[in-house]
């Protein structure tokens, strides 16, 4: 029995099983905090703690799932292409806004976290907080952060941005559909896009494009900004 529970077969079946159930309950209830990634993680962490399986052993057994993450990041190139070809509108305005937004997002989170005394690994984990999880965890791992922390922060940032986003946009007097969609997608990725779709189809489509642009720009800007900051230290 012990060997069976520690086997790769069991751990893979358990992981995918928990994920399928988590996905199903999220779709049934539509409660944002029941995000399938959060519930899956809680259940799996509790499970391996109870069965006394060390994280290293779990990671080893589920390596194949982790490998698929790389492939899904590559697959995002296809998504970006589909969104770009169906996109019309002021491209210069969109790219400029995303570029500045990305830099402001990275620099502000670094400065605030450092000022509050955060460990360098924590700072590295927060740098890609505004972008879609697959790119964010990849960027985080690359700059020496804790991918698990990034995954959680990204989801919570998405929920936070989607909840306060429409309120902030109203306060600022933002009427433009392009600006609203772009802001929600770039600050709160897919969760923000779901919210943008409630505002309208145009906002939703632009928000989807914003996720891709923000992801690509941030992936390139994080190492650049890190290099510049190291230079000035």
């Amino acid at each position: 029995m012990h060997n069976l529970i520690h086997s790769q077969l069991f751990l893979l079946t358990f992981t995918i099983g928990v994920y399928v159930v988590a996905l199903w309950s999220y779709r049934k209830t539509k409660i944002m905090l029941l995000h399938p990634l959060i519930t899956s993680l809680l259940v799996i962490i509790a499970g391996i703690k109870t069965a006394d399986i060390p994280y290293q052993e779990y990671a080893e057994a589920t390596k194949i799932i982790d490998f698929m993450l790389g492939l899904s990041v590559v697959a995002l190139g296809y998504l970006l292409y589909e969104q770009m070809t169906h996109m019309k509108g002021n491209i210069t305005a969109m790219v400029t806004a995303i570029l500045v937004g990305s830099v402001v997002g990275i620099v502000s989170v670094i400065l605030i976290a450092k000022a509050l005394g955060a460990d360098p690994r924590i700072v590295a984990s927060l740098e890609p907080k505004s972008i879609t999880t697959p790119i964010a965890v990849t960027v985080c791992a690359h700059s020496g952060g804790i991918p698990a922390l990034t995954a959680i922060v990204v989801i919570l940032v998405g929920i936070f941005g989607a909840v306060i986003g429409p309120f902030v946009l109203k306060k600022l007097g933002i009427e433009s559909k392009l600006a609203r969609g772009l802001a929600l997608g770039s600050a709160a990725h897919a969760v923000g896009t779901a919210r943008a779709m409630e505002l309208g189809a145009v906002e939703g489509a632009i928000s989807g494009l914003a996720i891709g642009l923000m992801g690509v720009v941030t992936a390139v800007m994080v190492p650049v900004i890190e290099a510049i900051m190291r230079f000035f230290e």
Binding site: I45, L71, S72, N90, D119, P134, P147, A187
Partner: protein, 113 residues
């Protein structure tokens, strides 16, 4: 299967290019950019990767789980800096919202005028 091959091939190509430029950015992200460019310049057709890419995109959340379970390993460190994490993320998120919305609205307006 051809679609899976293309994704694997671009992952490999991306990793190779990333290595050649000193691993400045991660290989999978380089692979994503190369796949995007290959589609734009019609080196490969979207139909060739559509099915495989959709599979990976639809099930993406599953692929973070092994990384996410790593939370157990860095629990103490995260707990220690919880306030910094929360404040930095929240303030920075609002800044991104404000900056992107203001710039986009201003520039879009200019073009229309």
């Amino acid at each position: 299967m051809a679609g899976i091959f293309i994704l694997l091939f671009y992952y490999f190509l991306g990793t190779l290019v990333a290595y050649l430029i000193g691993n400045f950015i991660p290989g999978s992200i380089m692979g994503m950019l190369l796949l995007f460019l290959s589609l734009v310049f019609k080196i490969i057709k979207p139909e060739q990767v559509r099915k495989s890419a959709t599979f990976f995109l639809d099930n993406m959340m599953l692929f973070f789980i092994p990384l996410g379970v790593g939370l157990v390993a860095s629990y103490a460190l995260i707990g220690k800096f919880l306030t910094a994490i929360t404040i930095a993320s929240a303030v920075s998120t609002v800044l991104v919202l404000v900056v992107v919305a203001l710039i986009a609205q201003k520039m879009e307006g200019k073009k229309d005028a």
